[in-house]
Amino acid sequence: MSIPLRTPIPSSEQARSASDVRLSVEQVSYAYAPNPSQAPLFTLEALSFHAKPGEIVAILGPNASGKSTLLKLISGALEPLSGRIFLNGFVTHSLPPRARAQRIALVQQESRLLFPSRAWEFVLQGRHPYGSGLRFETQNDVIIATNALTQVGANHLSDRWMDKISGGEKQRVILARALAQQPLLLLLDEPTLHLDIGAQVDLLHNLRRLAAENRYTVVVVTHELNLAGEYADQVVLLQKGKCLRVGPPASVFQRELLEQVFQAPLSVEMTSSGRPRVTLFSNT
């Protein structure tokens, strides 16, 4: 699909930090225990990586490898056991909710709404962290929300009810709400789940373009090796709470490594664009 180029949504802190590292995860670890006296059920061993504005980082790994935990740590929802996560110099966990929501937008796996709302109402929620008092939306908020819908090619959905549109359309509206937050950091938790292949490619293509246009730093948790290989600038490969490798897809996508992590025979080849492509074989 073709999406017209729009003016990027600017953000206050972008100008002064355009060239340096925006997100830095420094020796971050985490342990989950149902109560403090027991041994932890799950641990995420210390890991580090850094991302610049406009970069897409993909977190890859099998189930229960700690992908979502890492994303929650980055979002500030969880406090690391050790190490720190900085966003433009601020520790994400210590930011107050409003300040955090002005800098970090999280696209989660879709949640059920208690009462139906229209797509435009949903997107306007992204302006909540900027409002005050009763937060009546200003004309500026409406412009930003409309712009966000346009950026994901979902303007035509504006008046539709959220429970009456397809999974792919809903995913776009959710993404538009995140854009309306005008974040520095865009986090996505398995955004391609429940989407058909066309919609998956579409979404990643959109992300690539948005990251470049709006200078977002994007961190995406995904199962889709090939989408990560095609679109990510960096890949963080996790297995059972250990970070096995961080780097550009071409260096992380090694046949032996991926076979060992995903427990499946596969082959990796390089495409003409220098991107790795993974093919899975059946076991038989």
Partner: protein, 346 residues
């Protein structure tokens, strides 16, 4: 995009307020003793001008001293219960939540009865004694909603069916406690039992209590209203709300305390009137949408209208006898509850 504006909010509230005014006038007129509209207007203006002494007729006495206080009490009670219901629905993410269904009203009633019993043993000044019942009711409401909240929690999430069942069982248990207390410690008193279990507006309340109630309503409902836009986001879940900048723990404690205060205030003067907090927010949501900035004031006005209508019917439908107002609201509310429950299951 047509986001809510202050102008539209005030316009809609104005319409509801006008409707409430019409309902109040009709309610003043209706009853065993017929009153003319002219006489009604004349007497009301005299009251507003502080010339109550000029009203000498028996009709005026009935309207100003009996019907009007009862209607004003109904307005505060209806508004309190509806705002509490809308708040519980958002806070617990459960469209079927309501102070009565969740047992919070029964908890408030137990608190109020216990306060009355304690009050009998303490020689308090009358002003202080009047306040001890609402405070007891608030404590009863707050403890009950906390208990029901933890009953409904599983693995850190609120399970809506467990929550509802927990609430209904709690309500049943507390009703038994009310029966016990009313028939032992408080002295056998069947009319009092019906008052606490079903809700009733026929007991005259001192004027000072009405002022106290109105003040309490404004403070508590105002506190909830400051979180209106946060409640909109809470509908999508606490985690989502947090990531959109809502200070979830703060909103939770404000709404939890304020909704308990509202329930306690209403129950302490009218007993456990059921289903208003369920019915009114749903009707308002159908008309105005789920935006709490609109929904909360609309529910307050709508709740006032609903109670005044229900109480007028309760007064007149079997005249010269009377039904408890709770019987009227349950007749309308229980079928709606079942309808909503069925619709959710499909």
């Amino acid at each position: 995009m047509r986001p809510l504006t202050l102008g539209r909010l005030l316009f809609r509230c104005g319409i509801l307020a006008a409707l409430l005014f019409v309902v109040v006038v009709v309610a003043l007129k209706m009853g065993a003793v017929q009153v003319s509209l002219y006489g009604l207007g004349r007497d009301l203006i005299r009251v507003l001008l502080g010339q109550s002494s000029a009203i000498s007729t028996d009709y005026g006495m009935i309207v100003v001293d009996i019907r009007l206080p009862r209607i004003l009490l109904g307005i505060v009670v209806g508004a309190s219960l509806s705002v509490a219901g809308a708040s519980f629905q958002a806070l617990l993410r459960n469209p079927l939540a309501d102070p009565y269904v969740l047992g919070v009203s029964s908890g408030a009633a137990v608190g109020a009865i216990v306060a009355l019993i304690i009050e009998n043993h303490l020689a308090l000044s009358p002003e202080l004694a009047g306040l001890i019942t609402p405070i007891g009711a608030f404590l009863g409401a707050a403890i009950t909603i906390a208990a029901v909240y933890f009953l409904g929690r599983r693995d850190g999430h609120i399970d809506s069916s467990t929550l509802l069942l927990g609430g209904i069982i709690t309500a049943s248990f507390l009703s038994a406690i009310i029966m016990f207390l009313m028939n032992t410690l408080a002295g056998s008193n069947l009319r009092g039992t019906v008052f606490w279990l079903m809700g009733d507006l026929s007991t005259p309340q001192p004027r000072s209590l009405l002022y106290f109630l109105s003040f309490g309503f404004l403070v508590a409902a105002g506190a909830i209203y400051t979180t209106a836009s946060d409640l909109n986001l809470l509908l999508a879940g606490e985690k989502e709300a947090m990531h959109l900048g809502v200070d979830v723990p703060r909103v939770r404690i404000v709404v939890y305390l304020a909704a308990s205060i509202l329930t306690g205030l209403a129950v302490s003067v009218s007993g456990a009137i059921g289903y208003v907090g369920l019915l009114v927010p749903h009707v308002m949501r159908l008309i105005f949408g789920a935006d709490h900035r609109m929904l909360l004031p609309a529910s307050a006005l709508g709740g006032a209208i609903a109670i005044v209508v229900a109480d007028t019917l309760a007064r007149t439908i079997v005249a010269p006898s009377e039904l408890p107002v709770g019987a009227m609201t349950a007749m309308a509310g229980a079928p709606l509850f079942i309808y909503l429950l069925r619709r959710r299951l499909t």
